[in-house]
Amino acid sequence: MKRRQFFKTAGGATLLAGTGLMNQTPALLMDLYAFGGEENLSKVEARYYKKHPDREIECLLCPRFCKLGDKERGYCGVRDNIGGTYYTLVYGKACAIHIDPIEKKPLFHYLPKSNALSIATAGCNVNCKFCQNWETSQVRPEQVQNYDFPPRSVVEYAQKYNCPVIAYTYTEPIVFYEYMYDTSQEARKKGIKNAVITGGYINPEPLEDLMKVVDAIKIDLKAFSQDFYTAYVRGELEPILEAIKIVSKSNIWLEIVYLVIPTLNDRSNEIRRLSRWIMKEIGPDVPLHFSRFHPMYLMKNLPPTPVSTLENAHKIAIEEGLHYVYIGNIPGHRAENTFCPKCKNIIIQRKGYQINNVYIIGGKCKYCNTPIPGIWS
């Protein structure tokens, strides 16, 4: 196969795959090449689908349950019915590869200070109007440059670049389920952990299977109302809450992020209902991050979230009894730190993605010996 020139496809998507890599991990460029076009896609049979008569299929991976005729593609844009067999087109086809601090995911109670080899393919099973990565998530895989990066290579790179964690992130890893699953299995064999950064819009069966091979899951809860999910996400709230409950009952480390968007999901009563739900269904120890929104994609008409709005959300969640509530995307804010819920001392001091000090010893607060939930080493 010839190395292809970049060509003008989906805006900056092709560049995103290349320049991100160049900025973060120049050494990787030595032996990885990206290709565009249909001919470089994978044709690996997908999991979780049902065959119907007349070459029709029904996808069972996410709650959309796409029913597709021959030659049709799922909502996610990366799974294709070809002659009555359903294929993933992105197996081993990463469009973004970076090495990030784990705090960027954000995972605050999971192996702090670790580097995560972070990968994504094109595609997403929702369509958030505020997507930060729409140039890769809202396009088809043939419209971006993809690195040929099979599971074994991902694991080798994680080892080579001293990454104890592989993160499946940026777009929506559920849509590259098979790739993520097999990579996680390979990683496990080498003692590397797996973290999934997801919107959580997945059916229980594939989720439960995935939990057998991954170690941490961060779920983006986009709002606590179906109206918001209908209007701005094109998804459903209930299956996501269900996914959160399923993960919380397992031994997988779970954190929740809530992107606070001015006027749309920032009402005090919504935040209070969310906090109460978490307290009731999961308990006080799950970290909850309130992140600042920045105008992006189709939502450029709103300003960035005022700091006071985030502080209000933080205050409500604490009032409702949650122990680990954070404010994200405001580097230097006091609520980036982890506080001991008992003695109230700072036990992890952060600034942005940087950790300045950790006062947790053997999983306990250095000052009062209170156990602090998380995976610390």
């Binding site: 076009g37 007349d54 844009g77 043939e142 209007a231 189709l298």
Partner: protein, 297 residues
């Protein structure tokens, strides 16, 4: 004011071996356009639609492979008619989203200065534009063929049943002009088909709908299933994109009924996007306001 839809049928346009009688096909085009435009000759008819210096895009639908795509003979017949009228050959582009699909449907790709141009959006240095066009909170990038290269557009779609939309015809054909049609199939594609048609790159350039209804897939579309693909030997013409598709829908229902299949409404997949399009003022989607002129050569 009622919309006009012209339905030209010609027995024998499909030859017994599955080919096309080119002479009959050309006459069908000629008659269709003349009747539609109320003119005595093809040139006068086309003059009412196109300027000589227009760059005309013929958007075809080739997802269904050789057996269920806008046939090359049909596309070239239309292109030749435009050429005869005076559009320069190099300004006529027959196109769809990918070159692979065009090839699979029997087209020979052509990017040369001579001959009708035939290529997909995925051709190098073509691609999708970088400006998001947003409708109903979905953002799309348009094929630069539609947004930049052409000044006038003809939707030359194949008429098919569609599992989600109910019917795929002239309006839905433009799903092939955006980078993310997979995001437009919820809720029986309603209101997305209508909403997409209303975007500037499409609505401002669309001049004419022609439905290739020589063979109609009336059940289990949009892919080809021989047992439900009926010979209909018709071309459907209209300036009203909604009315054209509405009449196409009626053809599908007629063929379904003949075979004892339930109506699309009974299957809860009637093309409700047509009613939406009508409400949006894009055209007519009710028989009372559509004047159907059915002719045989």
């Amino acid at each position: 004011m009622a919309s006009t839809v012209v339905l030209i049928r010609e027995k024998g346009v499909l030859t017994p071996d599955g080919g096309i009688n080119q002479r009959k096909l050309s006459l069908m085009f000629k008659q269709g356009i003349q009747v539609l435009m109320g003119q005595q000759n093809q040139e006068e008819s086309l003059r009412l639609l196109f300027k000589n210096n227009d760059r005309v895009g013929i958007k075809i639908n080739t997802i269904g492979g050789k057996k269920l795509s806008t046939r090359p003979e049909v596309s070239y017949s239309l292109a030749k008619m435009l050429l005869e009228y005076g559009i320069q050959q190099r300004n006529i582009i027959i196109w769809d989203r990918t070159s692979r699909e065009l090839r699979n449907a029997g087209y020979r790709l052509n990017l040369n200065r001579s001959g009708f141009k035939v290529f997909g959006t995925d051709t190098q240095r073509v691609g999708y534009g970088s400006k998001l066009v947003s409708h109903l909170n979905i953002g799309s990038l348009f094929s630069t063929i539609q947004s930049d290269m052409i000044t006038a557009s003809i939707s030359l779609a194949i008429l098919k049943d569609h599992g989600m939309a109910g019917v795929t015809a002239g309006m839905k054909n433009y799903f092939g002009a955006i980078h993310n049609p997979n995001k437009y199939h919820d809720f029986n594609c309603n209101p997305f088909v209508a909403e997409l048609f209303e975007t500037k790159p499409i609505k401002s350039k669309h001049k004419l709908t022609i439905l290739d209804s020589l063979v109609v897939q009336y059940h289990r579309g949009p892919s080809y299933h021989a047992q439900w693909a009926g010979k209909y030997e018709a071309l459907i013409f209209s300036l009203d994109p909604v009315a054209a598709d509405f009449v196409g829908w009626q053809v599908i229902e007629k063929l379904r009924s003949k075979k004892g299949l339930p109506s699309l409404k009974e299957e809860k997949r009637d093309p409700i996007y047509l009613r939406t399009a009508e409400k949006m003022g894009l055209g007519k989607a009710n028989s009372e306001e559509i004047n159907i002129i059915e002719e045989e050569l």
